[in-house]
């Protein structure tokens, strides 16, 4: 599958998301000797699903090394090294595991620049991956970006395609702040056109993936892909949805989203997480604060069901938003008085969900 939303050059080769990540890191390590990569299993034969493969052979064990299972201390090591002038990329194979690093991320990484009056910076990237499907279960499937978004001092980025994965990772490595870089496992095999030369997808710039006049659909991480599919289903019945990918959630390009919502007067956010106190609530509140009541913008949120992610296929399918549920929610917002509409479930599936086989 390839995605090529507006705003991309269309140059380069079709490259998988996972290979785009690896290329970004290798190019930055080549450019800047201060960059190093570490984390549990970054040097094993699987290389974080391939995203770190070959780096140790190319850049040596001083710049690419595995770690003990000590997320707390290893995050502190990354912060200390960053304060000393290096530029660490700390890799975790699951977003869930960052809970073991929260003290360092929240109390130190986020606050160091402010707490010492700008005397020091913490240029570090924390990579982690969201799991989904094949029974990942409650502790391998979480997307906890809302926790990080609550904390001033952290930047958060969740690229949805290979082009942005490369450009945002390069931007994150070059940023002088701690950046929480959250990937999605199901996006790893997806392809997009990716320029070979280094480039950045800079913080604070959303992308309008597809234009439309009836509704603004904002997707987070792989929900962008689900929203694009929902848009196709809606188009078949004459509804034109505008799909926006914020890419960076902090800093967030709220103006692009607000401008779209003012025009379409309908805003639906599909998050790849629980909705309570989430980025959907934040985006909607920020848009309504800007637009005011006179704008008459209808709003809605979709996200995980409010429970731990279950592995049973029947339950797991109901846990996540999907193109059909997104399209149905959009339809209700556009045509609140019309009878219910349900797209053909077979046609609402995503190709990669059908094809994916575990284990991870």
């Amino acid at each position: 599958m390839s995605t090529r939303p507006d705003g991309m050059s269309g140059e380069g080769r079709l490259l998988r998301y996972v290979d785009a990540l690896a290329e970004a890191v290798a190019q930055e390590m080549e450019r800047d000797p201060r960059v190093f990569v570490f984390g549990l299993d970054v040097t094993d034969h699987k290389g974080i699903q391939g995203s770190t493969l070959g780096l140790r052979e190319r850049f040596g064990p001083d710049r690419v090394f595995g770690t003990p299972l000590s997320e707390d201390a290893m995050t502190g090591v990354a912060i200390g090294a960053a304060m000393a002038g290096l530029r660490p990329v700390h890799v975790h194979i699951r977003n869930d595991f960052l809970m073991l690093a929260m003290n360092q991320l929240v109390n130190i990484a986020a606050k160091t620049h402010a707490m010492y009056g700008g005397a020091v910076t913490v240029p570090m990237v924390v990579r982690s991956m969201i799991g989904k499907s094949w029974g990942q279960g409650a502790q391998h499937s979480q997307a906890l970006h809302a926790l990080f978004l609550h904390i001033p001092g952290l930047k958060v980025v969740m690229p949805s395609n290979a082009h942005d994965a490369k450009g945002a990772l390069i931007a994150a490595i070059r940023d002088d702040n701690p950046v929480i870089f959250i990937e999605h496992r199901l996006l790893y095999p997806t392809e997009a056109y990716v320029p070979e030369a280094p480039y950045t997808v800079p913080p604070g710039q959303a992308r309008i993936c597809m234009t439309g006049d009836d509704l603004t659909l904002v997707g987070i991480s792989n929900m962008v892909v689900e929203c694009l599919r929902a848009r196709e289903l809606l188009a078949e019945i004459g509804i034109q949805a505008e799909v926006i990918d914020p890419i960076w959630l902090e800093p967030l390009d709220i103006e692009t989203i607000a401008a779209s919502a003012r025009r379409t007067r309908r805003l639906l956010v599909a998050d790849n997480a629980w909705t309570r106190c989430g980025i959907g609530a934040e985006i909607i509140a920020a848009v309504l604060e800007r637009a005011g009541p006179a704008a008459g913008i209808a709003v809605g949120r979709l996200g995980f069901a409010a429970t731990a992610c279950p592995p049973a296929p029947t339950l797991e399918a109901a846990f996540y938003p999907n193109p059909a549920t997104i399209a149905e929610a959009a339809y209700r917002m556009v045509k609140p008085d019309a009878p219910a509409w349900h797209p053909d479930p077979e046609r609402a599936k995503l190709a990669y969900q059908v094809q994916f086989r575990g284990p991870f």
Partner: protein, 326 residues
């Protein structure tokens, strides 16, 4: 573990004695001045005084080069000053002024002096220990033989991150000197309520880290032990651990004594106060030299306090400055 390190403890030269006295006296007098000022509410920041514990910072840091790195905790005034931290910037920080070392954003618990290679001090116990390892990793790669010293209390050794960092530092042979200032209390909880055994050095030694215990608070012994550790670390030996027994004379937080509070008593403090290294060094100096040092320190402190009082508070419009680096 090595309870009695096979070191020859040199008696200090006159110049060294003078240097140690000056450093101990300066820290003591600075903190006494902070305690004196505190009730007037000009310092609105929780203070954790080092009074009684100065010799550990002074003894260890005397064995360092100016470009070696020191990391310390919220009870960090002694380490900050012993490492050469700017006194005016410290008082201004305690006063919350824009000229403070953290521009009024840190307070007593978050002192920093990058020019003197003092990492920002941290207020969540044990949190700064892995940061010191990150610094040591960077210095090891730099390859110039610089080292890092991290000071922490006995309570910090109960945190998981302490053990995680010991393991990582040993694994990577980092040039990192761990210094535990064991004052026997974590806030008000005594050691025997927290430790199944007191064999801390044995615990550390199992990571493959040489661990030494100094129980008498003797500054020259602490310094000799630190010098030997630092010399071996510069040659690539990997980390070393020192457990220095010491005693906090004041309350955990605040300017006063708390021997009446019931969790400890004054008789416990007496042996430490009778062998106070500040007195020991002071008696070795001739009275004229000592008086001159005392006067210089008095003047320096008065200047620093005046500097803080004359400095402006940060402008309210700058509240959101430094949240993100440009």
């Amino acid at each position: 573990m090595d309870e009695h390190p096979p070191l020859t403890i040199p008696s200090g030269t006159p110049a060294e004695i003078e240097r140690f006295y000056r450093s101990l006296r300066r820290i003591r007098r600075v903190e006494e001045e902070i305690a004196r000022l505190y009730p007037s509410n000009v310092i609105r920041s929780p203070i954790h005084l080092s009074i009684g514990q100065e010799a550990v910072s002074v003894g260890v840091i005397d064995g360092l080069n100016p470009d070696d790195v020191v990391a310390a905790s919220y009870r960090g005034h002694a380490a900050y000053l012993a490492k050469g931290g700017d006194l005016k910037a410290m008082f201004a920080e305690l006063y919350g002024r824009d000229t403070g070392c953290a521009r009024g954003r840190g307070g007593s618990m978050h002192l920093i002096d990058p020019a003197h290679h003092l990492l920002g001090t941290s207020a969540v116990v044990g949190t700064h220990i892995p940061l010191a390892a990150g610094q040591a990793l960077a210095l090891k790669r730099e390859g110039r033989g610089r080292v890092v010293v991290v000071f922490f209390g006995d309570g910090a050794t109960e945190e998981g991150v302490f053990h995680e960092t010991l393991n990582f530092a040993a694994l990577h042979r980092l040039p990192l000197l761990f210094v535990c200032e064991n004052n026997f209390y974590a806030i008000h909880s005594p050691l025997d309520h927290r430790w199944a055994t007191r064999r801390l050095c044995e615990r550390v030694a199992t990571y493959g880290i040489p661990a030494h215990q100094i129980t008498d608070g003797d500054l020259l012994r602490i310094r000799a032990c630190a010098l030997e550790a630092v010399a071996s670390m510069r040659q690539g030996s990997g980390p070393v651990f020192l457990e220095c027994h010491t005693y906090r004379w004041c309350e955990h937080v605040g300017p006063s004594e708390d021997f009446e509070a019931g969790y400890r008593n004054r008789t416990e403090a007496q042996p430490w106060q009778e062998t106070d290294p500040l007195d020991v060094m002071g008696r070795l100096l001739d009275p004229l030299t000592r008086a001159q040092i005392d006067q210089e320190i008095t003047l320096e402190i008065a200047e620093a306090v005046a500097f803080a009082e004359a400095s402006s508070f940060p402008a309210a419009e700058e509240l959101l400055a430094h949240v993100y680096a440009p």
